[in-house]
Assembly symmetry: C2
Homo-oligomer: 316 residues x 2
Amino acid sequence: VAEHCIGIDLGGTAVKIGLVDSKGKIRDSIQIPTGSGRTAEAIGESIVLGVERLAKKNPKYPARAAGIGVPGFTEPSTGTITFIPNIPVLEGYPVTRRIEKALGLPVFADNDANNAARGEFLFGSAKGIRNFVFITLGTGIGGGLFLNGDLYDGYKNYAGEVGHMTVVPEGRVCGCGNYGCWEAYSSVTAMVKRAKAIIEKGNQTRLKKYYPDRLEAKVIADEARKGDFIAEHVFSEAAKYNGVGIANLINTLNPEAVIIGGGVSNAGSYLLDRIRHFTQIYTVRKSWEAVDIRLATLGNSAGIAGSAALAFMKTR
Amino acid sequence: VAEHCIGIDLGGTAVKIGLVDSKGKIRDSIQIPTGSGRTAEAIGESIVLGVERLAKKNPKYPARAAGIGVPGFTEPSTGTITFIPNIPVLEGYPVTRRIEKALGLPVFADNDANNAARGEFLFGSAKGIRNFVFITLGTGIGGGLFLNGDLYDGYKNYAGEVGHMTVVPEGRVCGCGNYGCWEAYSSVTAMVKRAKAIIEKGNQTRLKKYYPDRLEAKVIADEARKGDFIAEHVFSEAAKYNGVGIANLINTLNPEAVIIGGGVSNAGSYLLDRIRHFTQIYTVRKSWEAVDIRLATLGNSAGIAGSAALAFMKTR
């Protein structure tokens, strides 16, 4: 059996394709533009060409399978993408079967946060942990639940939609139509929006110099660390609602670990400390004592390595 | 293999013991007082005597195993009760092994809400459903998660502590030390407390005639149904936070069904209608469309039948 798998990270602007070994190391990778306005068929075709190019460049490392990570939902048995808001032309398109047929390899597709959870289990900070929750803090908030040693996908593969957990009934408006969702408080989008609103009210803050276009999670975290009051407030407010959301998951699932990934996790221990404090406040004691909250380790390679992890786990 | 199991419902005031057939029918049952001030050893001894008495009365239906339902936590491998606030003398006592030894039957113990979930799976409204959430709305709020065809107990057997999910950060004080827990809004205790506070402020309501000692979930539901404004308000407020809590579980776990049990579920369709409306408000559309919310069917027999279901499932 070949010890490599292909990981395909299907993003709104680019498709990243990597050749990944059984330890999670990305041996080689390429990136192709997703291309707005292209047909589903054309996108599928460029993915096939990309994988073939990667295979040709690396003849010593044949892949045994490929995994696709989708920012949305898939139908596991057919591999059809059912929901993908960034590339809606792919909805209803059997991308998985299309690629499988062209490549002659088994191909699998799943939600990107689910795949990132698989990646952390095989290669990252959840190695050997049978019950954990993976949370990705980025533009939105996603989750992957790993229960009894495997990814838990629910009745129709929609499990882990934790970003739309209500943390403040009738709170901030969310893109989903509800009010008070976790991601309306703790996503990068929410933090930036909150910082902008505060700046626009005239508060004194060093964040002003990044307003409006360079205001992002990294500068908020950096200025917070340097003691800017408003940056600290925005960051801690987001961390507080991370605490509520994560505590609710811990109380419900009693996991051994919670793994924090996504762009915000680049803030490292500054984020982790705050999340730990807030989560403890809202968690029942026994489950708190049983859990460890830690950062994901795959970082920027989570997309490719996670998609490859799906392929590894489905063909072992 | 004998087609009967013993179900033991360990309550704060009484221990109920029943002989249950493989369809969930309770053939015979007895009840013994738990007895305050008794030693763990004495309580264990009366349970053994109770089971023996039941066996002697029903020689045609030998039991193949016994299950115990505990209002608290157990350590699954040893059967030791680790937390039982109503009968603290039992904490640390290996009640399961003690009874097993005396009876010569395999004996299992688990949290009562987990067992009620098993009961609904084998005998009740969750028959054949592989992914569902069981919620018990009573003095407190408990839960049992049934995932991938089996009870999910988490890393240390604390999963399903849904009553302490935070539904209103910094909201009403909860006995657990946190603020804003679901059970501080939607348990019977919370509803009665809320009704009393409103009566004490002088609001006009037919609930006054039950104040203070006969104010309970049933009369609040009855008067609400008859159109009393305050009773309707108290009942709907509790139902709203049931909606938030249940929606958070649906968004996270994408179950096929949510089963509502416990004393409050006696309010029947009046409760169910309200829970369905509120839950839909807070649930993501796809997971909402996949789920059915329904009432538990075991009712008052949930304690005995659920405990027996544990025994059936562990010995099949």
